[in-house]
């Protein structure tokens, strides 16, 4: 038998056939838990030896069954997820955890329960604000979630196991950040396309295996000679779900490298650690409510400010992006969103104001989550590259 592949090759294999490992583990009697978006707390799954498996859509597969259950004016990514569910592509899941990511995301959990009927399901109603009360609420919600998982597995989640899980997940976060460090040089050592493959791969396998994969990738990337070439543009990619390499492939086929991103199949879930607090759940609640920066959360400079200062407000909401732009030396930002995504859509004008103010050029691209939709975007990206070069 051939040597099992490692590093980037392995990442690509998993990217192309995501469920393969999950199916193997299921054979061995492990429970596989699907989750949508990045708000369902993974540490609690890992603590109970459940394998977290992120649910994605497939922009290469036409949506044919989901339209019966969800109007086409809704997020095509979620419609695609549902479509795959209805086509029995997620039948190997033992359960599914959803959270209040957005309206359609919440609705989907009910629709999924009605139509796909995965045996176990749980919904976490993550609040939108960072008010003190919200933190308390999130904490309570996580207690419920913990109980639900315990009932599901029939095992207690000990503090010890939970702490251990937090440590492995933090390790994963650190490894991802280390990987992103390798994107800082010019040319970057790993391309945007490869990055998505790696991230999607680690969101498809148990966390410890993901860490091993990350380590392999990091050492391979550091040493290889056939990495990306220097290009005139170093881009930061911001946006809603991007679970396919098609868009970065198109961009990197032009005179640009995607060197940094703020998307949830990218840096978003990994750039802050979970603090191991005395009461472990406190730290988890704080992380998942406050640390993940995503337009679904209402963030403002100071909730008790009686006067709004627009620019300062934008600063608080988006300054991490200017840090990214500075540290990864990007000279342009591509804002990307699937059509009908409200949470990202409302942020676009403000975010562009902010970037304009800093003199960072940006462009907004909207697509309907099909592969074919990307071709017409090519001229736009190229035009943008001509503007910034």
């Amino acid at each position: 038998m051939a040597e099992p592949s490692k590093g980037l090759l392995r990442a690509q294999e998993i990217y192309q056939d995501r469920s393969q490992r999950a199916l193997e583990l299921r054979e061995q009697g492990k429970k596989i838990m699907g989750y949508l978006c990045i708000y369902p707390v993974l540490e609690m799954m890992t603590a109970l030896d459940i394998v977290p498996y992120r649910i994605f859509g497939d922009m290469r597969e036409p949506i044919t069954r989901a339209d019966a259950y969800m109007p086409s004016v809704n997020c095509p990514f979620l419609r695609s997820c549902l479509d795959l569910g209805l086509k029995e592509k997620y039948d190997f899941l033992d359960g599914i955890v959803t959270s209040h990511i957005c309206d359609v995301g919440s609705s989907l959990s009910g629709i999924w329960n009605y139509t796909v009927r995965t045996p176990f399901s749980h919904h976490i109603d993550t609040p939108h604000t960072l008010h003190e009360t919200s933190l308390k609420q999130e904490r309570g919600l996580l207690e419920d979630y913990r109980k639900a998982l315990e009932d599901f597995t029939g095992h207690k989640m000990t503090t010890e196991n939970l702490k251990k899980a937090i440590r492995v997940h933090n390790e994963q976060r650190a490894l991802v950040r280390e990987l992103y460090e390798l994107k800082k040089p010019d040319p970057p050592l790993i391309s945007g396309v490869e990055t998505i493959r790696v991230i999607k791969a680690i969101q498809s396998i148990p966390v410890d295996e993901g860490n091993e994969l990350l380590r392999d990738v990091i050492s391979e990337v550091k040493e290889r000679g056939d990495g990306p070439q220097t290009k005139s543009a170093r881009l930061l990619l911001w946006g809603s779900i991007l679970d396919d390499t098609a868009l970065p492939e198109m961009i990197e086929g032009l005179d640009a490298n995607v060197v940094m991103d703020d998307t949830c199949v990218g840096s978003r879930p990994y750039f802050n650690d979970v603090e191991v607090t005395g009461d472990v759940i406190d730290g988890l609640a704080r992380h998942y409510l406050m640390d993940i920066k995503c337009p679904r959360t209402f963030r403002t400079r100071d909730y008790n400010d009686v006067r709004k200062d627009y620019m300062k407000d934008l600063e608080v909401r988006f300054s991490y992006l200017s840090d990214y732009a500075r540290d990864w030396k990007t000279n342009g930002v591509i804002l990307e969103s699937v059509r009908y995504c409200d949470t990202h859509g409302y942020d676009v004008p403000g975010l562009r104001d902010y970037l304009d103010n800093l003199g960072i050029p940006s462009i907004y691209l909207e697509h309907d989550y099909t592969e074919g939709a990307l071709a017409p975007l090519r001229t736009r990206v190229q035009g943008f590259l001509e503007i910034i070069s």
Partner: protein, 457 residues
């Protein structure tokens, strides 16, 4: 052209006009307050903040409603286009886009109300009260208005749990406390903003008034079960805004208005008069928000004998007396008056037996097939119109599932009409009418099916 051979197909309620006028007064009141230097806030409909703001002497106006007013008067399009020019994607909520366009126009005019604004316009706000309830649009939208106003935004968070999670032990009390603390934080903020203390006694009054109004609205809806249906949804939409978007208006005035409406509807029931001036061939329910720009379309459906006897949105809650004597904290009283345990409201609505079935469904599947269909049965509805909105996710996302459940559980068919609350270009009336004709056959079919199954209508 005054040659009206045939009376109009819709039979409008006279009492509706007075109520409708109250909404204009609310906006006039806002402008007046602003001119006198009193504070005006823009708020979202969610039922929590308005009474608190009014108790603090803040006038409230409602951009959601204001946008539908613009649409109804046919002046929304320039605002929509303005919002597009500001770089807002066109799929965003029509209310929000109208409001963005309006705000941008205001900035252009140095904070003055645009002269083309209907009903006197909405004055510049000192505060924007967003809401985490119902949909994402309603907090993202106000947040993004920061481009136009230096008014702070406060988002009122409210729990929006999954059904099964709502039944989890301890969840209800946690949610109640969440609300109480959340609203108290809001009050603390308001006190800081306005430099004065909350008037808790006033809250008892402003908060309680809604219950009276809702009680009359409930009674009116009870009357609408009659055959023929005495009140068409068109009148419901015209009048309901007075209850929902009451602003600082005296609740007693609105209560009186609905009381009069009750009398008029009652009179109709006694005399067998319908909400349409044509034989009631089909009884329908309208699910989703209405096409504010084309309410006249209901006239054309009434012409075919379609009587919309009930609607899904903004149905008043069943009036119940809640024993609040245990609770002395005014905020707790305020919250408990409205935020109920799911089990309790189900039991009141469906009776213990069916409520039990629903709860079992929820515990087992995480969803219920039966829940939320009560009005279809009670009003003996032949068919349902599902208004799928181009720009509103939260009211549209579940409609297709509803369509399946209605057929599965009650054998009631639905007609999907695509359109929008504000954007008239999303609606094709000719096509909708064509499909309406075919849908009559579908309704006939399911009448037979229900009969065969021994269902009561």
């Amino acid at each position: 052209m005054t040659t009206e051979a045939k009376p109009r197909a819709l039979n409008r309620l006279q009492s509706m006009y007075a109520l409708r006028a109250e909404v204009d007064k609310m906006y006039e009141g806002g402008v007046e307050a602003s001119e006198e230097g009193r504070p005006v806030a823009w708020v979202m409909l969610e039922g929590w903040s308005n009474a608190i703001l009014n108790a603090m002497g803040v006038n409230t106006v409602f951009p959601e409603n204001y946008s539908s007013l613009c649409a109804a008067q046919g002046v929304a399009t320039p605002f929509l286009e303005r919002s597009e020019a500001e770089g807002y994607p066109t799929h965003l909520c029509g209310y929000a886009r109208t409001c963005v366009g309006y705000s941008s126009r205001m900035v252009e005019l140095d904070g003055k109300i645009p002269p083309e604004a209907p009903a006197g316009g909405m004055p510049k706000p000192i505060l924007l009260v967003a809401s985490g309830e119902v949909c994402d649009a309603r907090f993202k939208w106000f947040q993004s208005l920061g481009r136009f106003f230096d008014a702070p935004v406060w988002t009122i968070e409210s729990p929006y749990p999954g059904l099964r999670e709502r039944l989890t032990e301890g969840a209800h009390e946690r949610n109640v406390n969440f609300l109480i603390n959340e609203l108290k934080a809001f009050v603390a903020f308001l006190e800081k903003l306005l430099g004065k203390k909350m008037d808790w006694d006033a809250l008892e009054h402003t908060g309680g008034g809604t219950n009276e109004i809702n009680r009359w609205r409930w009674e009116i809806n009870e009357l609408r079960k009659a055959r023929p249906g005495p009140m068409n949804t068109r009148d419901f939409w015209s009048a309901v805004t007075a209850a929902l978007f009451r602003g600082a208006a005296n609740p007693d005035v609105i209560t009186k208005g609905f009381e009069r409406m009750y009398d008029e509807v009652k009179e109709r029931v006694n005399n067998g008069i319908a909400g349409i001036n044509r034989p009631e061939k089909y009884r329908l329910s309208f699910e989703g928000l209405p096409p504010w720009h084309s309410l006249g379309f209901l006239e054309q459906l009434a012409e075919r004998g379609w009587n919309f006897v009930i609607e899904s949105a903004y149905r008043p809650p069943r009036p119940i007396t809640i024993d609040l004597s245990k609770y002395s904290d005014p905020m707790e009283r305020y919250v408990r008056r409205r935020y109920r345990r799911l089990e309790d409201s189900l039991e009141e609505d469906y009776g213990p037996e069916e409520a039990g079935l629903i709860i079992d469904e929820i515990l087992c599947d995480g969803v219920s097939r039966r829940m939320g269909l009560r009005h279809i049965r009670d009003y003996q509805v032949d068919g349902v119109v599902l208004h799928v909105l181009l720009t509103c996710r939260s009211t549209s996302a579940g409609l297709n599932l509803l369509q399946h459940r209605l057929l599965d559980v009650l054998k009631v068919p639905s007609l999907v009409i695509e359109g929008d609350i504000i954007d008239v270009s999303a609606f094709n009336p000719a096509e909708a009418l064509r499909n309406a004709e075919t849908f009559e056959e579908t309704m006939d079919h399911y009448r037979k099916v229900r009969k065969e199954l021994g269902m009561p209508w």
